[in-house]
Structure formats: structure tokens, C-alpha cells
Chain length 404, copies 2
Amino acid sequence: MTTTPDLLAPLARFTTLAGALSEPKGFGDASLRRRREGDIELLGGIPDDTALPVHELLAATERVLTGTRSGPAAFQYSQSAGLDELRSWIAAREGVPASRVIITNGGFHGLSLAVLSLVERGGLVAVDNPIFPLFLRALELSDGRTLPVRVGPAGLDVDELEEKLRAGARPTALYTVPDFHNPSQGTLSTADRVRLVELAERYGFVIFADNPYRELRFRGEAVDAGVFSTSDQVVHVNTFSKTLGPGLRLGWVVASERIAKQLVTLRNRQDSHTSTLEQRIVIDLLTHDPQWFDRTLTRARDLYRERADVVVDALDERLGGLIESVRPEGGFFLWPRITDPSIDPVALYAAAAERGATYQQGEFFASSGRREFADHLRLAYGNHTPETLREFVDRLGSAVDSVR
Amino acid sequence: MTTTPDLLAPLARFTTLAGALSEPKGFGDASLRRRREGDIELLGGIPDDTALPVHELLAATERVLTGTRSGPAAFQYSQSAGLDELRSWIAAREGVPASRVIITNGGFHGLSLAVLSLVERGGLVAVDNPIFPLFLRALELSDGRTLPVRVGPAGLDVDELEEKLRAGARPTALYTVPDFHNPSQGTLSTADRVRLVELAERYGFVIFADNPYRELRFRGEAVDAGVFSTSDQVVHVNTFSKTLGPGLRLGWVVASERIAKQLVTLRNRQDSHTSTLEQRIVIDLLTHDPQWFDRTLTRARDLYRERADVVVDALDERLGGLIESVRPEGGFFLWPRITDPSIDPVALYAAAAERGATYQQGEFFASSGRREFADHLRLAYGNHTPETLREFVDRLGSAVDSVR
């Protein structure tokens, strides 16, 4: 606690944090638009209801609350870093010591802790372009500046990043989604991960690797997920949101012991710890039947592969030559591109919404401050049945017809 | 998002927040001491295991997860401000519109949001002296300075605060525990609450009223809990931690609509929202049988009254004339004072710990930076049986004998 005034505080750009935080606009502010009965919304990275462990979680809750080892203990305070048993289960899966794992309230919380703790005020952060826009909101916590780096079909363009670093850019951190990129589908290769980590170590920035979709690869070859654990310069952010359900708000961070300790110190000044009850229930769920989680993932991958294929096939069939897609290898997002120059993206969005088919417009994902990616659509197919997805493409097709 | 550098950032006292956060020391860092088998720890504001709704919560979970209205919805994203049904239940009890209630991960989270959002960097905050020391940790989020205000047998000394304001002090906020003060037991009178609110409005500061023990009055006359809802200058922080269990991390804030919106904006950049599952379970618990919560409170009050009386009676009997106590009217804390000058508080603490009786030393609660309150002990009696509490006092008595 300081007892001397910070004389510069009144001169800072924002005296209170409230001033630095933006008003709701566009992406992520679903409440800004009126939803109508029968609308089909391909808006968010939301897992399907049928993939969520409703009955298994009830059984786990019963074991936790009636068990001799637990009961009331599930209602009491616990450690800020998370319960040892949950940290250990995750650590074993990640191939790191449990001391490098901390439990968070979902993946976004891990990003938020990393930004607030590690990015200096006004600090420069290299970011995906296109980007998951909510990261830019988290970055407001440190009033951070962005250095956009192009994301291509194979994830972050490490060449472009290296050029910027060689030209003198000195970011504090870099933000990227390495697996099944949000919004643009690509996955960073193992070789590029290794290069990225080398750059981070050479130029002294921290990689915020945001990896919520990582467990949902449904085709293609796995990349080496362990690369990010080899360096103290990586904060690897993960979550159960896409596998067990986002409403649980349960995620984790893998980081160096030094950074993990800093994040826990910050957490001690926030909400202290993630719900003991929920952590105990999820530990039971993951360990009661040791094969259960992997079986659940297998089922989920099958489900999302079918849905991805339904959308791609329907788009190719109905709108081939006008809108082009790349078949996803995992995750929840398709990032089709309007290839027919006679289609105005803004008019298309309006015509599709008119027909009850809504999606995120590509331009919301630019981190450059310029109008980019307007020729892209982000379609989130995870939480709709094949029938609904086909109906969505029919409506989109009708909208395309109406604006050409 | 800013695209121009904050030129002053490199000159600030701390470039990253990590630098501003203190290392663990003393209070609240239980891991710093070795716990031995058989130790009796009267350390924290912890509810008793027997007062927690273990079986009722299991039944509620079953209803939530098998119910037609809910099921998988409990696993999905929800609003940052909290679920409408829970906000409405709390709002009805508080006598405010639901738009003034936001759900948090416990009371401390509400304080943390308020500090980060409303206190400018290096800002001055008037605080209880003695104080709940963890608030000082939360205040580090804004690198805040403290203006200590004496807390007496009837809570915050509003006269002293008014003097300081008249003398020119201009705090951004004031932090106090109005009911069953932590650590010093007192409760602020209705008349003093009204005066405090008037001062906040006249001098333009925000009151952070931290009220976790408020529902646990077990004797004496209730004060008017509604005073704090009458002003836009109050952030009234509450929690289910002491009634349903701290491990749930479930609390709420009552604030003006403007401040509530600011806190939600910040929350959107943190962990997005409190667990949907847990909110739904607690809504069910509170509404399935509308009398259940009040019956639970009645039982809890009886439990804690008995325990408070056991400690006071045992202290009076064993250590009368050496250590003096005031009979508590509610909450979890006794703040006895060592009245015999031959007893050295530091030696007593060591001798008691040696005998397996630990408590918080009064000096940890000073917010003045000076050594104060060393002649006080904070005894947290909530989570120990009468037998254990009597044994604690026996050990303390033996320790007193050994150091006189």
C-alpha cells in the first residue's frame, strides 16, 4: 500500500478505468439487435446442448455432496490457484508440473488476468488480424495499443511478425488463437509454433496463446500442443467452455511458475478463487470414470464434423462460385469469402437478417482499425442441427439472390 | 481501443500491475504458518459446516438439471449482470429495482470491481481503522492511498470523518463494514448511516459498504438496512458467503444504475459472468420453498449466538479482569482487549500458538501504517463447536498464565 500520492495519475489519459472502457458496439453485444422468433443465429462459439454432460454432472454432484471426503467442504473457501486435484489432472494432461497450472473462470478470464497483470499501461501488444474481438476489450484493462499481424490459412503469419520485430517493433505481448482460429479457421503449424516461441524468447515478449477449441480437432493431423509448454514466455489459456459448457465458467492457464504466481496474486485481489463446489463437481466428473472425458470429446468431434460438413456442402451446392469456403479441421467456425464482386456485404447482411439468418460480419474482426475482411462471413455452426444449418444456407442463398 | 501511446505510462510508479501488488504477509496468508494436528484456529469469517445447505443444494441441482425449463441452459453463457431471476429475488429483498443489482463472485469481488472501476490511480480512499485488511489488497488494484478513520464500538466514527472532510480531505471513496464490524464488532446506527450518506453526497465520495454479516444479527435492535439504497453514492456489497457458503463465490452489489452499468462493463472484461449453473441452483434453492432461506437464517443465528456467548462467558470466567470482551450482537467476530498491562501481546500470541490456540493479532488490522490495536485479539467463533471454543479459552488462559 502506498502512502505517497502518484503525482502523475491526474495526468494520465484516463483517471479511472471506467473512462478507458468502451461502450457496447457490434460484436458480442447481441442485445443491440432485436431477436425474432424463428431467427437462425450463427453468432457465437457455443457448444451444442446435446454435447453437454447434464446427467453426468448431476451424478457427480450427488457423489460430491453425499461423499464422506467432501460434503460441506465443497461450500468452503479454497486456494486461489485452484484445487490441487483439478490442477494435477490438467497438469498431467498438459505434461507440466501442477505448479504451472492455475484455475480460472473460463478462458477469457485467463486472458483478462494476463493483460491486467503483464501488460504495462499503454503497452504495445501484437495481435491477430483478423482477431477474436473480445480480446481487444480485455486489452482496454491496460489501455493497450495494438500491433496487428496478419492471420492466414495456417494461422498467424510468423514471417510478418518477424519482419515487424526486425524493423524495431517491441511488443510486450502477442495474442493469437493457434488452433482452429477464431474467426478464420486456420491452425498454426508445429514449425511455426517453434519459431514463434523462439521470437518471443529473442525479443522478450509474452505469447498469450488462446486455445479454447484445441480439443475439438475432427480431421487432419494434430499439431504439437506441447510446444507452448516449453517456454517461460508463453501464457497458454484454455477452458472447459467448449467441452463441458461455457456457463460453468471453468478454465485454466499454463504458464511459468513466476507468471502463474503473479496471476494468482492478482486473483487474490479479484474474486479470490473459482467456486469450490464447481471445481469439486468437475474433478469428480473427470476422474470418476477416467475414460469419460475422452469419450465425450470423441462424440463431440463427430457432432461438430458433421455440422461443419453440412454447412460447407450446402454453401458449395447453393452458392458455389459466389461464396467460397474451406472445410474446417476443427472448432466451431467457418470463414467463407464472398468471391462475387457484385455482392455487397452490407446489403447481404441486411437481406439475410431480413430472412431470419444472422451471422457475424467479417469487418468486425479487423484489429487494424481499417475496414478489412468485409468480404468474409463468420458462421458459427456448433449449436445448430444439420436441418437448421441447411435452412440457414437456404435463407442466405435467397438473400444473395436478392442483392446481386 | 487507443491507437496513440500513453506517453506517461513509462513514468508511472509501476509500469505493470504486478509491480504494485504486495507479497503475502501476515493476515490472510494462512499458508505462512505451519498447522499442527489438534490446533484450534479462530482465524477467519467462516460459516459452520452444519449451517450449510448440503442436502438442499443437491435437491435443487436435481431440479435444475432435470427440469424442463432448464437442463442444458444451465451450462450455457448468460448475462454479465447476472440471471434476471436471481437479480429480481435479491432486488425484492433489498427494496430496489433489479436494474440496481448485479451478481458477483462473492462480496470481495464486488469490492474489487468497485475499486478497479471507480478509484482513480493513486486515489485517496477513506477506510476503517481497524480495517478488514484484505480491502487494502483490493485497493492495490488502483494503487490507492488510504485515509484512516477510527472505528469505535458503534462502527465508523462519522464525526472524525466529517472533521477530516471539513479540514480539506477529498477522498474518492470510503470503505466501511457497517454491520458487525470486522474486526471490531460494532454496528453503525441508522442515524450515523444517514449522516454518512449526507456527507458522501455533499463531498462527492462513494461509500463502499461491505456487508457480509448483515443477515446474521442474533440479538439487539436491527438498524435500517435501507438507508444505503437511498443514495446513488453508495455501492452496497453483499454476499451469500456467510449464509450459503463462501466456496460458492456468489454475491451481489446494489448500486446506482450508472455505477452498476460501469461494474458490468468491467466484468465484461474479466470473467464475463458468474457460473450460470450455480446461479440457477441458488435461484431454485431460494425460491422452491419461499420460506426456506429465512428459516435457514434463523437456525444460523441461533447457532452463532450460542457460540458467541460461549466464548464471552468462558473468557469472562477464565480471564476476567485481564481480557475484556463485549457481547456481540451478530456476525462471527469477537474483539477482546487485553486490559492487564503485564501481558505482552506478542508473547501471548506465541504462547497461545505453542498451546495450539491461534487467532488474528489486533495489530494486523491497523490501516494507519502505525502499530495500533496490539492489545486486541480477533477471535472468529463461527466454525467451532462450543466444546472446542471452551478448550480454546482454556489454552488461551494457560498462555496468559505463562506470560504474566
